[in-house]
Every structure is written in structure tokens, then in C-alpha cells.
């Protein structure tokens, strides 16, 4: 049996030539998160194709090695370890969900391999002082930044009370916690604080309860698109009369949200880590190209994955690679520290700073706060409305369809 294991491991060991620069990406290719793994696979594929077609990195081709972690933490650690020691990748990215990303970060830190986080949003990943871990995307606690800015500055927008409904995952709790902390600091009463399990099929009972508290603002947090759509549907159907419905999480910004909710989506705000401005030529070019290639419109995930490969390629280009794996990984880490560029996701520069809830960040994109945008559904389209300098249209507030007359 032992022999079998050994020969198997030899067979598993990497075979690609030293000519390619390898990037490892643990992603959920099967299991409950499989659709997300596929999004990243497509995004990486397109970036790699473009970079290699343009001559690669310093004459070498790049390659992304994806390993399936099935959304299981222990398996995420296993495949990260395998990518580092067997596939001998120079750098890791991916991860998808925060639990798995924690494991990958932990392994990367121990085995001294850079890990460029592209999507997982738990604050903890970049607040533990892991100097080998970098993150381009905003953390959970940053999601409400644009919303906080809006209620502080827009005339008469400060909530008189707020109901917060969020899923009981790390994602949901982080965002809801950050939003509530800010609201409380402004003296806003939180009249309902309700956590629900992911994939709830019926939100009407929660909404019955919330309706009784008569909230001025309705804040909804969902990590799953399914929940985002259903929680909004049931909140509206129960006839909650708030001046604004604000959604946090990718699901509130996808096309399905409008197509399935129809009129119910109208005037709902989405405060997201990123909601691409389709009028920006760079974003539009990416959207069109991605759609032409795969036949689907990209969202946050695809943009993050695509941008990650460009950030990594940029660091690979600047790092002096010698062929010694340990030295090269350190060189890449140092190159990442010097990153200062702009991708389709936005500006990126890694630094150490203090986050909105007081946590010390290590190697977190310093432009994260600026990535947060408040958008609003208007006539079936999601348009950026805040901050003013990114606004595509005038925002509608209070929501005439739900606010008390």
C-alpha cells in the first residue's frame, strides 16, 4: 500500500517545464461552491491567454494551476500544500470562501510562498500580520464604506432607525457588524438585528417581525445570490415601509436580481466592494471581451480573478527570478510590496493600515475604501450613485414606492 502511495505521489508531481511561470489557485471546482470555481477558472483563463499572447512575462509563459478544494477547509490546506511543494508554484491566488482562504493563508505563511487574495473577504485574512499574504479586494468591513459616506453627507439621509438582516456566515456577520458599529456611533437605533442561515427558503417570518419595528432603513446582507433575491422579495412583499432598502453582497448587484424581482428591485441600493461602472471604457472593454469569449456577462468574481492575474504578472515581471524557488518566491513577495498599478478592478497598492473597525491590516490594498461604491437599481439597471464623483445618475431617495407618505 505504501508503495502505491509513493508511486502515486511521483505521478502527481509536476511535469510542466521550467519555462512556464506557475501560479497556483485552489478553487472549489466541485461541491456547493462549484459555480464560483468555474467563474474564476474562466477569468484566469482569459487573463493568461491575453498575457501569453502579448509575449508572456519577460519572455516566459504563465500558467495557472487550479486545484479543487470542494469548499472544504482541510482540503484547501492540502491542495495549497500540494501546489507549493509538488507543483512548485511561485505564488498562490484564489481561495473563493474565507474559511478556505484562512487555511491557504496559513499554509502560504508557513511555507513562505506569496498568496495574492483575489476574492475572499474575511478581515481576519489580512489582520493577522501574515507578511506573505496580500489582498486586492476590499474586506467585509469595507463593504459598507460608500453607504456610510452617503448617510453622513447626503442631506437628511441619516437613518432614524435601521433594521439589519444578515446571514450567519463570516461574511454576513462581518458586514452587518461593521455597518451596525458605524450606525451606533452615529446614534442610530438598531431596531432589528436578525441573522438567518444561508439558503433560507422563506424570509416572511423574519420580515413579519421586522415590519413590527417600523425601520427607517432596511439593511440586507447576503453572501448567496439566492438569499439576496429572496430576502429582498419577501421584505418588499411584506410591505415594509422604509426610506431605503440597501443590499450588501454580490447578489444584490447581479442581473438576476433585477430579472427575477422585476419592479421589486426598483430603487434598491447595492453597497458593494465593487460594482463596475459600465461606462468606464476599461470596464466596458473587459465586459464585452469576456462576453464574446464565454457568452456570459462577468461580475465581481470574474473581474477579481482577471485582475489578480494581471497584478501577479506585473510582480513577476519586476521580480528578479533566478530559478531558485525560495529566492524567487521572496523576490515576488518583495515585488508585490512595490506594486503600484491599475487593473480593471481599480488602483492597487499594498500597505499596512487601520481598517474601519480598528483592525490593523497587513498588505491590504490601500485603495480598498475607494472601491466601495453605492449603486442603485433604476429601471432594471444598476447605476452607480455615490460617491458623487463616480455617479452615473441622480439617486432616488427616499424610495417613493416604500417610504411612508
Amino acid at each position: 500500500m505504501r508503495k502505491l502511495v509513493l508511486s502515486l505521489l511521483v505521478a502527481l508531481a509536476g511535469t510542466a517545464s521550467a519555462q512556464t511561470l506557475k501560479i497556483g489557485a485552489p478553487q472549489p471546482m466541485t461541491g456547493p461552491d462549484a459555480p464560483f470555481g468555474d467563474k474564476f477558472k474562466k477569468a484566469y483563463g482569459m487573463a493568461v491567454e491575453e498575457i501569453n499572447a502579448a509575449g508572456g512575462v519577460n519572455g516566459k509563459k504563465i500558467e495557472v494551476v487550479i486545484e479543487d478544494h470542494m469548499a472544504k477547509n482541510a482540503l484547501a490546506a492540502t491542495v495549497a500544500e500540494k501546489l507549493i511543494t509538488q507543483e512548485k508554484v511561485l505564488i498562490l491566488t484564489g481561495g473563493r470562501a474565507s474559511g478556505q482562504a484562512m487555511e491557504i493563508a496559513s499554509v502560504a505563511q508557513r511555507l513562505k510562498t506569496p498568496y495574492m487574495v483575489d476574492h475572499p473577504s474575511a478581515d481576519m485574512i489580512t489582520t493577522k500580520g501574515f507578511e506573505w499574504v496580500f489582498r486586492n479586494n476590499p474586506t467585509g468591513s469595507i463593504y459598507p464604506a460608500a453607504f456610510n459616506d452617503f448617510i453622513s453627507k447626503y442631506p437628511d439621509a441619516m437613518p432614524r432607525s435601521a433594521a439589519v438582516v444578515y446571514d450567519n456566515t463570516l461574511f454576513g456577520k462581518t458586514i452587518a457588524g461593521a455597518a451596525m458599529k458605524f450606525l451606533k456611533s452615529k446614534g442610530v437605533a438598531i431596531v432589528a438585528d436578525e441573522a438567518y442561515p444561508v439558503n433560507t427558503l422563506d424570509f416572511k417570518p423574519i420580515m413579519t417581525k421586522v415590519k413590527g419595528t417600523n425601520p427607517d432603513y432596511m439593511l440586507l446582507v447576503a453572501v448567496a445570490t439566492t438569499d439576496a433575491i429572496l430576502v429582498t422579495r419577501h421584505a418588499k412583499e411584506m410591505g415594509i415601509q422604509s426610506r431605503a432598502f440597501v443590499g450588501f453582497g454580490g447578489g444584490f448587484g447581479v442581473a438576476d436580481f433585477a430579472s427575477q424581482l422585476g419592479g421589486l428591485a426598483e430603487n434598491v441600493f447595492s453597497s458593494a466592494a465593487w460594482s463596475g461602472n459600465p461606462n468606464d471604457p476599461r470596464t466596458k472593454a473587459f465586459y464585452d471581451k469576456f462576453h464574446a469569449k464565454y457568452g456570459i456577462w462577468p461580475h465581481e468574481h470574474e473581474v477579481e480573478g482577471y485582475a489578480a492575474i494581471y497584478i501577479i504578472a506585473d510582480a513577476l515581471k519586476r521580480a528578479k527570478l533566478t530559478g531558485n524557488l525560495d529566492a524567487d518566491r521572496d523576490a515576488i513577495r518583495k515585488a508585490l510590496l512595490e506594486t503600484n498599478m491599475e487593473t480593471v478592478f481599480g488602483k492597487v497598492k499594498f500597505g499596512n493600515w487601520t481598517g474601519p473597525t480598528g483592525d490593523p491590516f497587513t498588505n491590504q490594498n490601500v485603495y480598498s475604501l475607494e472601491h466601495s461604491v453605492l449603486a442603485q437599481w433604476q429601471k432594471g439597471q444598476l447605476l452607480n450613485v455615490w460617491p458623487k464623483e463616480f455617479a452615473e445618475t441622480k439617486l432616488v431617495f427616499p424610495d417613493p414606492s416604500t417610504a411612508k407618505k
Binding site: M1, V5, L8, L12, T30, D68, N73, T85, M124, N168
Partner: protein
């Protein structure tokens, strides 16, 4: 156990202990650690499921309790893992007593469903009892305490200490189950498995025997959880209290051989390697083979791989392992 087989077991353990001196490939050691850990969990499950015929779908609860107790003791009270892991196991065993007193009032599939429900409730509590578990945020260990053994500082960044720790757990688990299979308790369990009412009729306190076994089983699973916490260094409810975890323990014992000491090890090796090879070959479809494989084993090797091999080796008349749970 004959003297010869005892010698064989000790030699095998010694050989395994020497492995890190020869093999430097850290990923290979990682796979070995996983196999050891899965074996421990499979043995734990097997004590109850294999010997006593009580199919639990809730063993993740014990694993989770062990993991949480161990990591919380370390982070909040500076209790080093080598003390924390046995304490975690003991906590899981303590947790098993009420768990058993509730669920053992039921038999057969009703017991199985009840364990599932209790495990899900445990997970729900872990998700929401922020004060003790930190909720869905979970606990992360970034540094392990320094340890000097025989003048050498243990390097936690290498695999060897974890490998040896996992191997020790494996020895403890296999030793315990080996003892169990020959003890009076083991004989009671077999009687319970074959016919619960008859066992009761001949004066066996079946509930006490089952609860004792469950506590033992939970102790092993809890230590496995504690080890997991320090090896993977991150504990959250989804990772350590998952139904999938309970199911995998069942598979391992089942594929290897129910009610055997060696079975779970074979099951763990097989599933780890087959799983890994399939994952490699068929990115998306690998679980198809996993499912197919399970069905084939149950269809053609209902006594498990080890059970079959052992029978072939001994050429003894087959010891029929009856699997009726009730």
C-alpha cells in the same frame, strides 16, 4: 492477540515512526498525517458502529467539541496542545454521556437520525454561541508554543512533529480498539449488535455498555479534533462540525471493514489515495467515482477490504459480521 501479531504491530509502528527520517517529501508526510487522522476517526466511529452496531451520523459533534475545547484552552488559557488535546478528548467524552443518554433510547435507523439531529444542533449552537466559539469567525492559531524535547527545539514549521503526534494518536486509537475487541465490554457489544433484546435478557446493561463505548469513541474523535485544530490551525463551525465529516468517518470504517482494528487504516489509505488520484484525473467528476466506489464495495465486499483480506489470510471459516443495526 498472538505474540507474533503483537510483534508485527509494534514493528509496523516503529517502521512508521522512522519514516520521516527517510522520506523528506513534505507533501507525502502531509498525506500520511491525513491518513493517520482519518484512521483515528474511523477507529473512533468503528468502536460504536462496527462493534456495537450503532450507526452514528453525528460523530462530527465529538470531533468539533474536541477541536474547540483544545483551541480555546490554548488561545484563552495558554494550555499547550499536548495537554489540550487529551483534555479536548475528555471534554468530548463528557459531552458524549448526555448525547448517549438521549439518543440510545432509540434503536436502529431512529438512533442514526437522532445522532444527526443532535450533531446539527451542536453546530447551530457553535455558530451562535459567540462567547465560547467566536461564532462563524472561528479561531485561528498563528503561533505554536515553543517545546524542547531532549535538548532539541521542536520546529513546528516542519511536518515531523505533527507526523509523530498523529502517529501516536493512531497507536492510542488502535490500541484502545484492540483492547476493546478483546475486553468484556467488547463481548457485550457484540451481543448487543447481534440482538439487543437478547443481550438485555441475559443481564447486560445495554444502555450503560453503549454509553461507555460512545464516551470512548468520543474521546478518540475529540482528540482527533484537537489535533486537527493545531495541524490546520483554523477552526470554524463549518470545518469541524460538518455532516460531511460524520459521513466520511462512516465510509472509512465501512470500506475498510466494520468491527476490525485494521480496517479503518486500510479505509483511510484507500480513500485518501483513491480520492486524490481521482481528483487529479477528473477535476469535476471525481466524486462520481467516490460514490460508485462505495456502492461497489457494499455490493461486492460488504465486510470491507480489510475484513475480506483477513478472511483470505486466515482461511478460517468466515466470521459473519452481521450488520443489522436493530
Amino acid at each position: 492477540m498472538t505474540r507474533r501479531s503483537a510483534v508485527a504491530w509494534v514493528a509496523a509502528a516503529a517502521l512508521l515512526a522512522g519514516l520521516p527520517l527517510v522520506v523528506k517529501n513534505s507533501f507525502f508526510l502531509h498525506v500520511c498525517i491525513l491518513v493517520f487522522l482519518w484512521t483515528v476517526l474511523g477507529e473512533a466511529w468503528n468502536a460504536l458502529g462496527g462493534y456495537a452496531g450503532q450507526v452514528s451520523f453525528g460523530h462530527a459533534a465529538f470531533f468539533g467539541v474536541g477541536a474547540y475545547v483544545t483551541i480555546v484552552l490554548f488561545l484563552k488559557a495558554d494550555v499547550a496542545p499536548w495537554w489540550g488535546i487529551p483534555v479536548g478528548g475528555a471534554a468530548a467524552a463528557a459531552f458524549a454521556v448526555p448525547f448517549g443518554l438521549i439518543t440510545f433510547r432509540l434503536k436502529g435507523p431512529y438512533f442514526s437520525l437522532a445522532t444527526l439531529a443532535v450533531a446539527e444542533l451542536t453546530k447551530l449552537v457553535a455558530l451562535n454561541w459567540e462567547w465560547a466559539t467566536n461564532g462563524s469567525t472561528g479561531y485561528l492559531v498563528t503561533h505554536l508554543p515553543p517545546l524542547r524535547l531532549g535538548g532539541l527545539t521542536v520546529d513546528w514549521e516542519t511536518k515531523t512533529p505533527f507526523y509523530l503526534a498523529a502517529l501516536s494518536l493512531l497507536v492510542v486509537a488502535m490500541g484502545t480498539i484492540g483492547w476493546l475487541s478483546r475486553s468484556r465490554l467488547g463481548a457485550w457489544l457484540t451481543a448487543i449488535r447481534e440482538n439487543d433484546e437478547a443481550a438485555e435478557a441475559v443481564g447486560i446493561d445495554t444502555v450503560r455498555a453503549k454509553v461507555l463505548t460512545l464516551a470512548l469513541s468520543a474521546f478518540l474523535a475529540g482528540m482527533g479534533g484537537g489535533f486537527y485544530a493545531f495541524y490546520f490551525r483554523y477552526v470554524d463551525p463549518d470545518a469541524v462540525l460538518n455532516i460531511g465529516l460524520s459521513m466520511e468517518m462512516v465510509f472509512i470504517a465501512m470500506v475498510g471493514g466494520l468491527g476490525t482494528v485494521g480496517g479503518p487504516f486500510i479505509g483511510a489509505v484507500f480513500l485518501t489515495t483513491v480520492g486524490e488520484a481521482m481528483r487529479e484525473k477528473f477535476q469535476v467528476g471525481h466524486l462520481v467515482f467516490y460514490g460508485l466506489f462505495m456502492m461497489l464495495v457494499i455490493r461486492f465486499l460488504p465486510e470491507g477490504i480489510w475484513g475480506r483480506v483477513r478472511r483470505a489470510i486466515r482461511r478460517a471459516p468466515a466470521v459473519e459480521v452481521s450488520r443489522g443495526a436493530a
